[in-house]
């Protein structure tokens, strides 16, 4: 046993897979400790906040400031409002209104702004200009408003009598240290369509998905193992019956069965454990077949015959004389079942047949919601890509371990 373990941990593939998997598990255990709370809590009011560090604007106003004279600050600030393309667009508008801009240097901000402010009219409808374009100019014009000012901004607050009281005056060279701001929130993977913290949800969802995979894998392996053992060892009529059933369910795609059963259960009864069970119930055939063929090759070995002669019962023979020889095989099959169970949950959820929402997050449900809110189309990569990556990594690590084990137990495959 020790020897086998040593061998297993000598396989680079197994070790790589193992490290990834343990890494994911550690993340699942440790992250909730750092960032505790309900993973389904809607912290954002809007949808799909971008990843990054969020600083409370309210708090920064009252935080101690330092004055920093940074040479490129003004340029950056201007660039944020007035990009190169915007300058060209402004010229385009002016030309469309038949104002001569041939002598105008577009890089000369002051000159450009002067002409613009003099001529721009929100209600004008230059010929051939779409509403979308007119809207763009309105927004641009509004954002230009602050450019001409002297660079002091005043923040006021209404006191109890309704009077405006000045809270702070902010200059362009005032900076706060983020450390001094009491409220900042680092959303590593932003928020999803419900305004939930994606990373927190992802960690919790990965846990549920692995749980679903484990249950599904265990159910499938147990059923497959039992049927395979009985069928292979007993042979005869039992074998015929079991193989009959197994063959039928091998050919009828498990995916189809999964859809049909999940559908007929109905959404309100589909909790995560139920889904896991259904997945397990539709994916055992493959294990049963392989176990059976292994058992057949074992059943006439001397030690089995000996055991039979000494009058040992069926279950004892299966448990002590056959099972140990196929244990490695069963473990490998189990690993594969876990990984395909996770995948099956994700696919079901995408079809709208996954576990019911709002109880627990699963990787499939996260993916489904991201798709429903078309995260993939509006550039919110953080809502779906980490989910795909997580599924792939879990499944990859399991398969890598499996390949490693395969090489250990089948020496001919060794590198």
């Amino acid at each position: 046993m020790k020897n086998t373990l040593r061998q297993i941990f000598h396989s680079s593939k197994f070790v790589a897979g193992f490290i990834i998997f343990v890494g994911i598990l550690l993340l699942l255990i440790i992250y909730p400790l750092i960032n505790p709370g309900n993973p389904l809590e809607m912290i954002g009011v809007g949808t799909f906040a971008e990843p990054g560090t969020y600083v409370s604007v309210y708090d920064t106003v009252t935080t101690e400031t330092e004055t920093l004279k940074l040479p490129d600050a003004a340029v950056k600030r201007l660039g944020n409002v007035l990009k190169e393309a915007d300058r060209q667009k402004m010229a385009d508008w002016l030309s469309a209104m038949e104002i001569d801009v041939s002598g105008l240097d577009l890089s000369d901000t002051d000159a450009l702004l002067a002409v613009w402010k003099e001529n721009y009219d929100e209600t004008a409808r230059p010929a051939g200009m779409t509403k979308a374009e007119r809207n763009y100019y309105k927004r641009l014009n509004a954002s230009l408003g602050s450019l001409g000012s002297a660079g002091k901004m005043t923040v006021t607050e209404k006191d109890s009598s309704g009077e405006e009281q000045v809270v702070a005056t902010i200059g362009t060279e005032d900076y706060v240290n983020v450390k001094d701001v009491p409220n900042t929130k680092n959303l590593v993977l932003g928020t999803d369509n419900f305004g939930r913290d994606v990373l927190k949800e992802l960690v919790s969802a990965a846990g549920t998905s692995i749980f679903i995979g484990l249950i599904a894998g265990a159910v499938a392996t147990v059923i497959g193992l039992l049927l395979g053992l009985l069928s292979g060892y007993l042979g005869g009529l039992v074998d015929d019956i079991i193989m009959f059933i197994t063959n039928i369910f091998t050919v009828i795609p498990g995916f189809v069965l999964l859809i049909l059963i999940s559908y007929s259960i109905g959404q309100d009864k589909r909790g995560a454990p139920v889904v896991a069970l259904v997945i397990g119930l539709t994916s055992w055939t493959w294990t049963a077949r392989s176990v059976r063929s292994q058992v057949i090759s074992l059943r006439n070995r001397d030690h089995v015959n000996l055991s039979r002669l000494s009058g040992h019962g069926l279950f004892r023979i299966l448990a002590t004389d056959i099972l140990p020889y196929i244990a490695s095989y069963v473990v490998m099959a189990f690993i594969l079942q876990v990984s395909s169970g996770i995948l099956a949950e994700a696919q079901l959820s995408l079809l709208g047949l996954g576990p019911k929402t709002t109880e627990v997050p699963t990787l499939g449900l996260m993916m489904n919601w991201a798709m429903l809110y078309s995260a993939h189309l509006n550039g919110s990569w953080w809502a779906y890509f980490p989910v795909i990556l997580m599924i792939t990594l879990i499944s990859f690590s399991l398969n890598l371990m499996n390949t490693g084990l395969d090489q250990v137990f089948n020496p001919t495959l060794r590198d």
């Binding site: 799909f48 419900f194 305004g195 550039g379």
Partner: protein
Amino acid sequence: MKKFTALLLTAAITLTGMMSTVSVLAEDVQLPREETLYFGGQQWGTVNSYNPIGTNQNNAMATTPQLIGSRTLMFETLYMYNFLDGSLTPLLADGDFAWNDDLTEMTVKIKDAAKWSDGSDVTSADVIRTFDIGVEIANGVGTGYGPYIDSIEAVDDKTFVIKAAVTEDGVPVNPLKVNDFLSAVLIAQAGWIDAVCERNNNDPTAIMNDAAEDVVWSGPYTKYFDDDQKVVLIRDDNYWGQDASMWGKLPVPKYIAHTIYADNAATEVAFKAGEIDVDQQFLPNIQNTWLEEDLPISTYMEEAPYGVCLTMPTAWYNMNNPVLAENTALRKAIAIAVDYDTIIANAMTNQSPSFADVPRSLMNPTEGEQALYDHEAVADLQWAGNDIDGANALLDEAGLTDTDGDGWREYNGEKISLNAVCPNGWTDWMAAMEVVAAAGKNIGVEITTLFPEWDTVQTVFTNPNQTEYDIFMWSPDGAGPSMPWGRVRQFLDGDLAGIENNWTGNWGQYKNDRATEIVKQIPLTSDPEELKALYTEAIQIYLTEVPSFSLMYRPAVFHAVNESVWTNYPEEGDGRNIPPADCTDGYGIAALYDLELVG
């Protein structure tokens, strides 16, 4: 390896075989982009037929009768409804209609120029036959207007009188519904209807399922092509409406095309790619399309809520559940605990006015309806939402307390446990239900969300005896000639309680005698002050009793345009008074005559 080559060959053959089964049309195989207006979000699934008197056409572009304005591309209504101001503009009709004094008879004229595609005149007989066949075969026209219209009689070829159904005391049942008839019912040709009846031996089902290959139409467009992936209408250049008495010209696009997309996401991609010009679809965070993606997309209004909200998706309490029926305090507590700002920001991505902007009532947010009730009189009854303390206080006061210390409140010793239901896949509603459930958690009332498939939901909530759903979401009607009365009825009419297969309203089975009486009085009241008093009283009852609570405001139709090919769509304040109704619904179709190509 030979076998695989053979397999590949089989594949190739299958592909060719598949192509040959696709129906082929001779003329234009590629629709010229500059002559085609593409739609999205209207047609889901394959078109069944172009049968204007059927009920199973699944043909959004050609046959969609609806209160907020029927789609008059192929078949036409008598009048076109404009939800911006509630006006009716004559289409097939000529000039205004006239009621007699006791609102029992309405006289309508038909335009002289109005013609069918076969060249014959549109006459009174066509209107009469359309109504009569509806009653005979019990299609939407028959079931929808049969109870309110006794008969339609011809005065002459171009004039007819609609006789309203009257009660035993000679009072019209509901004159407002007769107004609906004018703008919602698509008129079919009498001669064609006769032919359909004859070939189907007058069997109602067969008539409604008739393929209508030979249909005669009066509208500016007609069928051109349809398959699983698209439907295309082509302009009828002989359209009568180019007569000076109607539009004086033809609509601009030669083709109206609608690709059939699998889902919202696919529609959104196509819209952003400029493959759809006019999109009737909720686009979350639509402002990002122009703010961040720089796409030539615009909406009727530049700022949130971007469109005209006409309805308010509402959470209905099921009065068959004793806990809800017996505890007004519970109903009110849940309603005031819900965080509406989150719903509006999240589910609607702010494409709805807030309840601070437009306080809750039975009215939609349009100015016309808002002016119909006394805001001051109900101001004390309003709530802002997210009022956890207030809700807790209400519940404590009503004696709904947590007696066994499990964190949940009990009623008569039993834990109050409710579900909140909406159809699966209706994302914005699902998000709203999640927020309602979260509110329950804050006030010690267990609310779990439940998202069954849509077909399950519809059979349950239209069943008057259902006890499966406690809080469920549904929208009242948006706009139409009979609004806001129709909506008041949907919220408060006790006579609707107990009706089997109830699609009409009062899905929560709420009964209040005074409210039911008000619903009866409004259609017969014409004095504005009296009306205002009635509406205000109805709202008072509604806000006090809380038989349901609205969660957000929402457009009845979404209307976003991609101006990469076409422009000059209706916009707020352009003086044309064309509603943002996707250039197709009711008076919204006027936009088709004004479109211009970009550049």
